[in-house]
């Protein structure tokens, strides 16, 4: 009996000293929740409306009610004049080509700006920064005239080339700051081992820059995917992208703005981006924090 009591006493957990309540962490959690709600509320409302019966479009119940898949059927219903599948494909083509070209040019430009010594290289960087702030709306009319004159109106290249010019400054600037933080010693070690500068770049620097390249690629793709201004003026029915298609969406009822179908289309458009971010989440985080601490 006494042995049992002794063993019980020895296994009883020792009382931990009470830590004072940390108000700082509570503030952090509350702030995080507020930011999360702030960011996700529009997306949540889009989902709620996308799944709501068209008769209850203006119902303000904040939960899923009168759930239906009809809105998604309307989105892909070609008899209403919507060619949403085609529009998705167009967005994918424009986004993918823009991203690939911007990355191809951007990686080399960023490497040159970060690693090579030449006169006025920071002036060039400032020039790129200025170009990135150029208002796109100022280009719409001249581009429309130019592309109409050379017969490019409604073609993919009319959408891709202006998109590249918008995305390229972002690409170059992001990659330049990343390349500048990479240790020179890696490249020098490769050169000592017999690599040329090009080989050192291709075999050492580029693989190490993969996280930043992925992050930049995703940012470029998202920017291109969401582009509306140029696409709304320079595309025709066969090259219309999703952002433009949603703006001119036709619903099942004539003379009625198809809000539920628009929300369903918005949901469909968001899915590829969400998948992209989820798949490459680790690389994005690594890319965004790369070079943050030396």
């Amino acid at each position: 009996m006494s042995t049992a009591t002794a063993s019980k006493t020895s296994t009883a957990p020792a009382e931990k000293p009470k830590r004072p309540f940390n108000w700082g962490s509570l503030r952090t959690y509350i702030s995080a929740v507020i930011i999360l709600i702030w960011c996700l509320a529009p997306f949540y409302w889009m989902l709620v409306t996308a799944f709501r019966d068209v008769g209850y479009t203006f119902d303000t119940t904040p939960f899923f009610t009168h759930i239906t898949w009809d809105n998604f059927a309307t989105v892909f219903d070609e008899s209403l004049g919507n060619h949403f599948g085609r529009n998705l494909l167009n967005s994918l083509i424009v986004g993918a080509v823009t991203t690939v070209v911007a990355l191809l040019v951007g990686v080399f430009a960023a490497y040159a700006l970060a690693r090579l010594n030449f006169r006025f290289k920071f002036v060039v960087l400032g020039f790129i920064l200025g170009a990135s702030m150029f208002p796109g709306v100022a280009l719409v009319t001249p581009l429309f005239q130019l592309f109409t004159n050379i017969g490019w109106f409604g073609t993919y290249q009319a959408l891709i080339i202006p998109n590249i010019s918008f995305v390229l400054p972002l690409t170059v600037y992001t990659l330049t700051s990343f390349f500048r933080e990479m240790p020179w010693e890696l490249e020098e070690a490769a050169r000592i081992d017999g690599c040329t500068q090009g080989q050192a770049f291709r075999k050492v620097i580029l693989p190490l820059a993969a996280p930043a390249t992925f992050t930049t690629a995703i940012l470029a793709f998202i920017a291109s995917w969401n582009e509306f201004l140029i696409a709304s003026q320079l595309s025709n029915d066969s090259t219309k992208t999703v952002t433009v298609a949603i703006a001119y969406f036709a619903g099942a009822q004539p003379h009625q703005e198809p809000y539920t179908a628009v929300m369903a289309a918005g949901t469909v458009v968001t899915i590829p981006l969400v998948i992209l971010v989820l798949v490459f989440q680790r690389k994005i985080v690594a890319g965004l924090t790369a070079g943050a601490v030396k």
């Binding site: 010594n117 006025f120 920071f122 002036v123 400032g126 200025g130 150029f134 990479m182």
Partner: protein, 68 residues
């Protein structure tokens, strides 16, 4: 020499907008439209650019190799 790089970036930035304003001013002038606002904007940018170039030239010369 970090500050020299920052100066160069600002100079490049101003040079870009100076070029944009120059083209806009010339175009407005040539096509007979009101160009005073554009010209004043160009003047402001050129003055800022001149000031930055003066400040840049007063910086000490770099003596070591730039890393990164």
């Amino acid at each position: 020499m970090r500050s020299a790089e920052d100066f160069d970036i600002i100079i490049g930035f101003l040079a870009f907008w100076g070029l944009v304003l120059l083209i806009a001013t010339v175009w407005m002038e040539v096509t007979g439209q009101q160009a005073l606002g554009w010209a004043l904007g160009l003047l402001a940018v050129v003055l800022a650019l001149w000031g930055m170039l003066r400040l840049r030239s007063k910086l000490p010369k770099r003596t070591t190799r730039r890393l990164g």
